[in-house]
């Protein structure tokens, strides 16, 4: 399961990786970033990804942007953060503006509408898969599997089924979970 970790070699490496990752991210980069950083490039383990993702998620701003900044700054300081952010944003922004011009002309075509629907459905599946892959990393969590299942289950019900606003769930359940973890870690 665990493979040896080989972190990025240079800011240029960060720029290229985040450019390639961003360009695969139809329907959002969240769906592909775990796959690229952990499974393909082995920059970090599942556990490390979850830890960084937690910080990226709880900070204001887009979570993939936060994650890129965090990884960039860890390895190469401010230069790394800027390289990762530039990679994530530059090529997709140029592409988006070109697409906006094209969409104004052909956006109403049924084939285009259909293709977008199809890609949207796949992207939803990719995000679910990213979550499923990370489940295994919870085995080593000090909360224990039962507590993880209870907290994760409550979060899913609140966000996906009851549609409560994400920030409330994140901070509410998060406060409970962190308090329990704090107690367990003392032992």
């Amino acid at each position: 399961m665990t493979v040896s970790v080989s972190p990025p070699r240079s800011p240029g490496d960060l720029f290229i990786c985040f450019t390639l990752t961003a360009l695969q991210g139809f329907g959002g980069v969240m769906a592909v970033i775990q796959n690229e950083l952990v499974e393909r490039r082995h920059w970090m383990t599942h556990e490390e990804f979850i830890e960084d993702w937690a910080v990226a998620q709880i900070s204001p701003g887009p979570n993939v942007v936060n994650l890129a900044l965090m990884i960039g700054t860890r390895y190469f300081g401010l230069r790394g953060a800027l390289a990762a952010l530039a990679g994530l944003i530059t090529a997709p922004l140029i592409l988006l503006l070109i697409l906006a011009l094209a969409y104004a002309r052909w956006g109403a075509q049924p084939a285009v509408v259909g293709a977008l629907r199809g890609m949207g459905a796949v992207a939803a599946g990719l995000i679910i898969a990213a979550g499923l892959r990370l489940l295994g990393a919870l085995r080593s969590n000090p909360l224990g599997m039962a507590m993880c299942a209870a907290l994760g289950g409550a979060c899913f019900v609140a966000v996906a089924l009851l549609r409560w606003p994400q920030p409330y769930v994140l901070f509410g359940l998060g406060a409970v979970a962190c308090t329990i973890a704090y107690r367990r870690l003392s032992a």
Binding site: L23, G25, F26, G27, G28, V29, I50, E51, Q57, S59, P60, G61, P62, V65, N66, M70, R74, A81, L85, L88, L93, L96, L97, A100, R105, G107, A111, V112, R117, G118, G120, A121, V122, A123, A124, G125, I128, A129, L132, R133, L134, A137, L138, P142, L143, C148, A149, L151, G152, C155, F156, V159, Q166, P167, L170, G174, C178, T179, Y182, L185
Partner: protein
């Protein structure tokens, strides 16, 4: 773009086409604040943006607003780029492609700058203090919640597939891609391409 704008202006006569310097400053100042309150991504402040851009200032039409979000989501890259696309459209409404380009970049920078500074500082502090009990408790405690949140996000996006009884092919595509990516090493782009092809062929 020109035809589309004409069509939109016919639908919504309310757009204020000329935006002065004071308006740009006001717009960017709002974005700086949105950035700091956007926990969970800029999507969470979408209602506030709609109120500012469409309802109160009439810088964008309703159709332009929704199309910006939809297009940025379909296009590869972070969804936050919808902010740049809205800036682009505001600039086009105000009259020129150059203005559109400058507006797109300024809007994106404003919405990213405060949250990015915060993320970098948080990352440095967290890494420096990673052995502290409180930091470890935070990361370990949040783990099951953020993993569950990923699955929940996918579920919410899948719900946009529509009624499972009628739109079952879309749901099937979501389920199959989740299973394939979870269990195999098939490249994600193949799945996205297949989804696009099936959709373009009218099978979904």
């Amino acid at each position: 773009m020109y035809h589309r704008l004409q069509a939109i202006e016919r639908v919504n006569e309310m757009i204020v086409p000329v935006i002065g310097w004071a308006d740009w400053v006001q717009l960017l100042a709002h974005y700086l604040v949105f950035s700091l309150i956007s926990v969970g991504g800029a999507i969470t402040v979408l209602p506030e943006m709609h109120r500012l851009l469409v309802v109160s200032q009439h810088w964008l039409s309703d159709a332009q607003f929704s199309a910006s979000v939809a297009l940025a989501q379909a296009s590869p890259g972070p969804n936050i780029l919808f902010v740049a696309l809205m800036g682009w459209n505001i600039g086009l409404n105000a009259g020129s492609t150059w203005l559109a380009l400058v507006a797109a970049i300024l809007c994106l920078v404003s919405v990213l700058l405060p949250s990015s500074v915060l993320a970098v500082l948080a990352a440095r502090w967290g890494h420096h203090n990673r052995e502290r009990r409180a930091v470890r408790a935070f990361k370990q405690g949040m783990s099951p919640i953020v993993v569950s949140l990923l699955i929940a996000t996918g579920w919410i996006l899948a719900s946009a597939n529509g009624d499972p009884a009628r739109d079952w092919p879309l749901w099937a595509v979501t389920a199959v891609s989740a299973l394939v990516v979870w269990r195999t090493k098939v490249h994600l782009l193949w799945l996205l391409a297949l989804g696009a092809l099936l959709g373009a062929a009218g099978l979904l």
